[in-house]
């Protein structure tokens, strides 16, 4: 048995391990019975139940709103941080900034959540802002930890990019700001989009940090799911899982297919230009 076939076998085993639980959730979301583990015929009634669950729908609205603004904030901050780290080498304090960008990637969520909550409480005491906790505090918390992820995604694109284009623009007399907006930004745009999407999903997914920094009236979807899951399995959650998995999968494959088409068109244009 050689190593190549062994690693291939492991890859398939690993993929089965990753997807089997999700597949089971999807199958049993169409189960008639309330007993989640016993099959009792096909039904879509749990999807109906889900749509009548007002508490959950409110939470979905909150979560989407927070995720949208967090992702947008994180793209701005993360892109700036990545640009600073890849283009302004060795300024004073660059090591600290680099550390503050990588640490949130691994920081246990309970620590991040607790420390941010204590910061908000201390700030409210000192300057009277933020007044209470709610959507704003969750937005700040999510923007902060998503910034790190965006910075990594955008940073790797920035360091792969051909610097000579930027230099040429500078030589031809464009100001640094103009170069950034007219040359750099269009080139790294795909990374900004994938960074934004990554931040969006991370924000939608976060339970622990949001639990620490949320207030009354700002319950997010994971918080509702968590309180229901704690009480045991429920077919409604299976239905919700199916919707989420289907949405994510179709979005991912649609964007992958689109990216591939763009790439193919680019290669064709290049061949035409070079007269091949």
């Amino acid at each position: 048995m050689n190593k190549f076939s062994f690693s291939k076998m492991m890859l398939w085993l690993g993929l089965v391990f990753l997807y089997a639980p999700m597949l089971i959730l999807i199958i049993y979301s169409f189960n008639e019975s309330r007993l989640v583990t016993v099959w009792a015929g096909f039904s879509t009634k749990w999807y109906g139940e889900l749509l009548r669950n007002d508490k959950l729908l409110d939470a979905v609205g909150n979560s989407l709103q927070i995720a949208f603004f967090s992702a947008s904030g994180a793209v701005v901050l993360g892109t700036l941080a990545a640009y600073v780290l890849t283009r302004f080498r060795g300024f004073k304090g660059s090591t600290l900034l680099r550390g503050m960008i990588t640490a949130p990637l691994v920081m246990p969520e309970v620590i991040t959540g607790l420390s941010l909550l204590l910061l908000f409480v201390a700030m409210a005491q000192l300057v009277g802002w933020p007044d209470g906790r709610g959507m704003t505090t969750i937005w700040i918390a999510h923007t902060t930890f998503c910034t790190a992820y965006v910075a990594v995604v955008v940073g790797s694109r920035l360091s792969e990019m051909d610097m000579s284009i930027e230099e040429a623009a500078r030589d031809l007399g464009a100001s640094p700001i103009k170069v950034f907006f007219q040359i750099t930004l269009p080139i790294i745009a795909p990374a900004l989009i994938s960074g934004w999407l990554l931040a969006f999903t991370l924000s939608l997914d976060d339970l622990v940090i949001a639990s620490f920094v949320s207030g009354p009236g700002s319950t997010t979807l994971p918080m509702v799911v968590f309180s229901s899951v704690r009480l045991g399995v429920s077919p409604e959650i299976n239905a919700l899982a199916t919707i989420i998995i289907t949405l994510v999968t179709s979005l991912v494959f649609a964007s992958w297919w689109y990216a591939r088409r763009v790439e193919k068109a680019r290669v064709r244009d290049m061949q035409r230009i070079s007269g091949a």
Binding site: I24, L80, T86, M100, A103, F226, V229
Partner: protein
């Protein structure tokens, strides 16, 4: 007009208004305020005492009767070290995280190798398949395992249906379930840095090794693994550090015997409302993790620099 321009120019000279510095300042100040300063506050509150008030802890610095007094209360830390519960929770968190990291590595390394060896056309799809689960809800993927591992769950039902066992195997609410959950949730994070590292591997070195008569196994251990060290370390840290503080997985899949420090911190904060003790728990956790975090930082940046 000219004077104005000159004044503007002078202003531009001052360091803060140089566009370059303001570009640096925006993300810098944000992260300082919302990432670094909070840890200082956690440290401060870990030296306070709990009290029934808003906020529920005492001030360190008080000024009364013309006296400025600073009260540093070491009680929380003494309390942590004297109570076996906390010590065993730290130890078992580290043990659970270590074992899970090792399983992730043993499963993830061959997977990453297989993806990097796949034909270029299918490489991206395979990578996408590995990452995709982590874009769906983490909570729901952990929840899926409850139904699988329950006494009357899918595994036990199947085994009992086939007549292999006549008593359900107890899997849910044990440490075993926690291992499964952590490996399941963090496996993609192990594979990504490994794959990135393997893609940069100079293939001629691998060929040279086999041309010189090394067996595939020897090549793996003498050439491939040493060359992917940065990926191994980054991947292991990316799993180990968050796993030490994991709360959701032990809460949903673990039992009452499963001691994990993230769960203890959560309970101190939300159930006992003892903010100072929760802060002390967080400070000790940070102290334990600071070296792994610095290590991760180093290898993460190494990977980033190799890319450029």
């Amino acid at each position: 007009m000219k004077a104005l321009t000159l004044r503007w120019y002078k202003l531009r000279q001052s360091a803060w208004l140089k566009p370059r510095n303001s570009v640096i300042a925006i993300p810098y100040l944000w992260l300082l305020l919302f990432f670094l300063v909070p840890f200082v506050i956690v440290l401060k509150i870990s030296f306070a005492e709990a009290q029934i008030a808003i906020p529920p802890y005492t001030d360190l610095v008080t000024f009364a009767n013309d006296q400025l007094s600073i009260n540093l209360n070491l009680g929380n830390f003494v309390w942590l070290f004297n109570d076996d519960l906390y010590l065993s929770a730290y130890l078992s968190s580290i043990r659970i995280a270590l074992v899970s990291t090792l399983i992730c590595l043993l499963l993830g390394y061959p997977m990453a190798l297989a993806i990097s060896r796949a034909p270029a056309s299918s490489r991206n799809v395979l990578l996408l398949l590995v990452i995709l689960p982590s874009w769906t809800s983490f909570l729901i993927r952990i929840y899926a395992w409850i139904g699988i591992l329950k006494p009357n769950g899918y595994i036990n039902n199947a085994l009992m249906g086939m007549g292999i066992i006549d008593q359900p195997i107890v899997m849910l609410h044990t440490d075993f379930a926690v291992y499964v959950g952590i490996v399941y949730a963090y496996l993609p994070f192990m594979i990504l840095p490994l794959y990135a590292n393997m893609m940069k591997l100079d293939h001629s070195l691998v060929e040279a090794s086999s041309d010189l008569g090394a067996s595939p196994i020897t090549t793996l251990f003498k050439v491939i693994i040493p060359l992917t060290k940065a990926g191994i370390i980054a991947g292991c840290m990316l799993v180990f550090i968050p796993a030490v503080g994991e709360f959701v997985i032990p809460e949903l899949l673990g039992g009452p015997e499963t001691l994990m420090i993230g769960k203890i911190l959560w309970e101190e904060f939300f159930n006992n409302r003892d903010w100072p003790v929760a802060s002390a728990v967080a400070i000790i956790m940070l102290a334990l993790l600071i070296l792994p975090i610095m290590w991760f930082d180093r290898y993460q940046n190494k990977q980033m620099e190799e890319q450029s």
